[in-house]
């Protein structure tokens, strides 16, 4: 992308990132997806039990295998518990942000009366700071300061138990860093995937569609709750191929053998994960991996194959494979990740070129699927 295109990307992507919210508060992003796809989808369903959104684009060849793009749409965030006598606000985590990165970060509380700014700070516990300056930060240490000096003031401002909280102040959830090659913010996981899938579908529609019918399954709660809303999807949609989209870990400050993927290396094809864990894991069907690599080579973009977290308990998208009817014998599942530095920290960094290349591969993959394609079934 040239600088003008990158600016446009940042502006558009910001709109997606600004949407609420963590699990249980996904309505804004569901509306975002609906608005982006309503002119191009043949069918949009909002599932009634979990709030998932399913969008369908009919294919040009009824004999071609159908493809389902699937991602979770919630992000890491917080929720208000109550106010203290001093006017500070206690909160719980809805998600898994590293608490070591949370101190002194701006937050926004979304109340029924509108948003109110605050900052994450230490909960006062006696004469702090000198005594325990040698201690790391945990969630128990933190609270939100909105500048109120009493419990009554907090209520007057409109903050109530259960109000969702996001990191950063409104219109600042996404910023450009460096000379514009990357953007940073929180919630890029999962908004990058949502944005990428929406863009892919818009591109495909503009070209006149592809052979396959394409489903987008935008699932709620999946950032933290594995397999709750996903069950509803499995009950309704049985595609011939699934393409799971997620954010992939990149950590330049960690050993290359632990985190094998790097910025600039292009989309990540996660060929295996959690295979040593107690709950079992996932190995991508080899023919599907070949298909993804072929696609990337044809697009002339770099890609990275990753074996991840061998002893990590199976993440949601592992289980797409082993759930009844969806097993490796059933629905072949491809797995693509947008490399994201500092996933699960308060500031994530997305190298724009990696997003671009991942999008190219997704679009090309969708174009590549045709009737009679060899998917390596036995």
């Amino acid at each position: 992308m040239d600088p003008t295109e990158r600016e446009e990307f940042t502006r558009e992507f910001s709109q997606c990132v600004e949407c609420l919210g963590p699990r249980g508060y996904e309505s804004e992003v569901v509306n975002y997806i609906k608005n982006e796809l309503k002119r191009i989808a043949d069918e949009i369903i909002i599932e009634p039990n979990f709030g998932n959104l399913y969008a369908k684009m009919n294919g040009n060849d009824p004999n071609a295998p159908s493809v389902m793009l699937v991602t979770h749409i919630d992000i890491n965030g917080f929720e208000v518990i109550n106010a203290t006598d001093d006017g500070l606000v206690e909160f719980r985590a809805l998600g898994d942000v590293d608490p070591g990165t949370l101190l002194s970060k701006p937050v926004t509380i979304h109340t029924k009366r509108g948003t109110t700014p605050g900052v994450l700070t230490f909960r006062p516990t006696g004469l702090r700071s000198v005594q325990d300056v040698g201690k790391g930060v945990t969630y128990e240490d933190l609270c939100i300061d909105i500048g109120a000096s009493s419990r009554e003031e907090v209520t007057d401002i409109g903050v109530q138990p259960g109000d969702p909280v996001t990191l950063y102040w409104p219109k600042q959830r996404l910023i450009t860093i460096g000379d514009g090659k990357s953007v940073s913010g929180q919630g890029i996981d999962s908004r990058m995937q949502v944005f990428g899938i929406v863009k892919a579908m818009q591109i495909i529609k503009k070209e006149g569609g592809v052979d396959s019918t394409i489903w987008f399954s935008a699932e709620t709660q999946g950032e933290t709750l594995y397999l709750s809303s996903h069950y509803a999807t499995l009950d309704r949609i049985r595609p011939d191929i699934a393409l799971v989209c997620e954010a992939g870990f990149v950590q330049p400050l960690m050993d290359v053998h632990l985190v094998t993927t790097r910025t600039g290396g292009g989309p990540i094809f996660r060929t295996a994960m959690g295979i040593m864990s107690d709950t079992g894991g996932f190995i991508m069907r080899r023919r599907i991996l070949d298909l993804m690599e072929e696609t990337a080579r044809e697009c002339k973009v770099p890609y990275q194959v990753s074996v991840w977290g061998a002893d990590q308990p199976g993440e949601m998208f592992n289980w797409v494979c082993v759930t009844p009817g969806w097993g490796p014998e059933g629905i072949p599942t491809a797995h693509i990740r947008f490399p994201l530095r500092y996933k699960h920290h308060a500031s994530e960094v997305q190298y724009i070129e990696d997003y671009e290349n991942a999008l190219k591969v997704i679009v090309a993959f969708l174009r590549k699927i045709h009737a009679g394609i060899d998917l390596g079934s036995k």
Partner: protein, 355 residues
């Protein structure tokens, strides 16, 4: 308040402070270390010389080394080591920062190693030291960083995201000590209206956070009889002995200390005067013994034959972090207190002890 000014690089804030002080001063100069010194002659030539001091600098970082992958190590612009006055390392991870390089501002973030999914609970609760952190500007090589005009020694400030002001509540970067500068400017405006006997110097001082060098230089030039330091101050927690809270008025400081060996006592006559003035004028205040804080008072008090000094503090929550919280009512009351106090300072404090 939006200007960036880490210690040693205060020019942009200096310009704003100078502009505002010029409107209510007889003469304004910038000295060799960057202090803005504005003078108002008093009604009486024989009256004492009072210096109001508010430091203009803020906490920040400085680029140390750029590695081959484009990641930068850094040091902190703030004295005090890990305890006492220096700011807490724990606020740094994931903090958005602005690097001020040769080609202008560049945004980045501070980052730490670690992936929560791979960490045990002990690892997750581990303390991260600033030495292991890096600034990331979203590139993959040293060449790209150099191309952006960034190099060793460049100052870095916290991006902050602006100041959020909702009714009386102020949340944002550099409340410490822009609120002090604001109070000083407001006091000078009021003094211009009400008149005063003493000669008043308003000093926007530099490099307070790395040793109060600006204040010391200004005091040496001015040789004031007394000085009022206006600074944001920490709110203390729940010790019933001395609680400083926001929204309860400015503080009048009895003493400040930084263990193990530094303590500065405010001039008792001056302090008593300020407390009675506050009571007479109906200005709420809090009496304060500041633990683990050293301000410009420490540098001004010993200058020449000594200076009678006291600190008026604006209570600020989360002080020494990128996002601080204070209340405008406290700032306004501080300005009232400074103005009213100066009205009573036409004569020097000739006596220290009660007779």
């Amino acid at each position: 308040m939006e200007q960036h000014a880490p210690s040693g690089f205060e020019r942009d804030v200096g310009k704003v402070v100078a502009r505002e002080l010029e409107k209510c001063a007889d003469e304004t100069i910038i000295d060799g270390i960057g202090n803005i010194i504005a003078k108002r002659s008093g009604a009486s030539e024989k009256a004492s010389v009072v210096m109001i001091d508010a430091h203009m600098d803020e906490i920040g970082l400085m680029v140390n080394y750029v590695d081959s992958e484009g990641m930068m190590s850094f040091v902190k612009i703030s004295r005090g080591g890990f305890e006492g006055q220096s700011f807490d390392d724990r606020i740094l991870p994931s903090q958005r920062v602005t690097i001020h390089g040769a080609k202008g501002s560049v945004h980045g973030i501070v980052t730490i190693p670690g992936i929560p999914h791979l960490a045990t609970p002990e690892e997750l609760a581990r303390l991260h030291r600033s030495a292991e952190m890096r600034i990331d500007v979203g590139v993959t090589s040293r060449e790209e960083v150099t191309h952006m005009g960034i190099r060793t020694g460049d100052p870095v400030t916290f991006y902050g995201g602006g100041i959020q002001i909702k009714d009386d509540i102020v949340i944002g970067r550099a409340v410490h000590n822009r609120i002090g500068c604001l109070v000083m400017i407001e006091a000078m405006r009021r003094l211009k209206k009400t008149g005063h006997e003493a000669t008043v110097y308003a000093v926007g001082s530099t490099q307070s956070l790395i040793g109060s060098h600006g204040a010391r230089v200004a005091a040496t030039r001015i040789k004031p009889d007394s000085a009022l330091v206006v600074d944001a101050t920490a709110t203390s927690a729940t010790d019933p002995g001395h609680v400083v809270r926001i929204n309860c008025g400015p503080t009048i400081r009895r003493a400040e200390t930084r263990a193990p060996s530094f303590e500065f006592v405010a001039h008792p006559k001056m302090r008593n005067m300020l407390e009675s003035v506050a009571t007479e004028e109906g200005i709420p205040y809090q009496s304060e013994y500041a633990e683990n804080l050293l301000t410009d008072m420490a540098a001004i008090t010993p200058v020449g034959r000594g200076v009678a000094c006291c600190v008026i503090g604006i209570p600020t929550r989360n002080i020494h972090t990128p996002i601080e919280v204070c209340r405008l009512a406290d700032a306004e009351n501080a300005a009232k207190l400074v103005t009213a106090g100066i009205a009573k300072m036409s004569a020097r404090f000739e006596q220290y002890w009660e007779s």
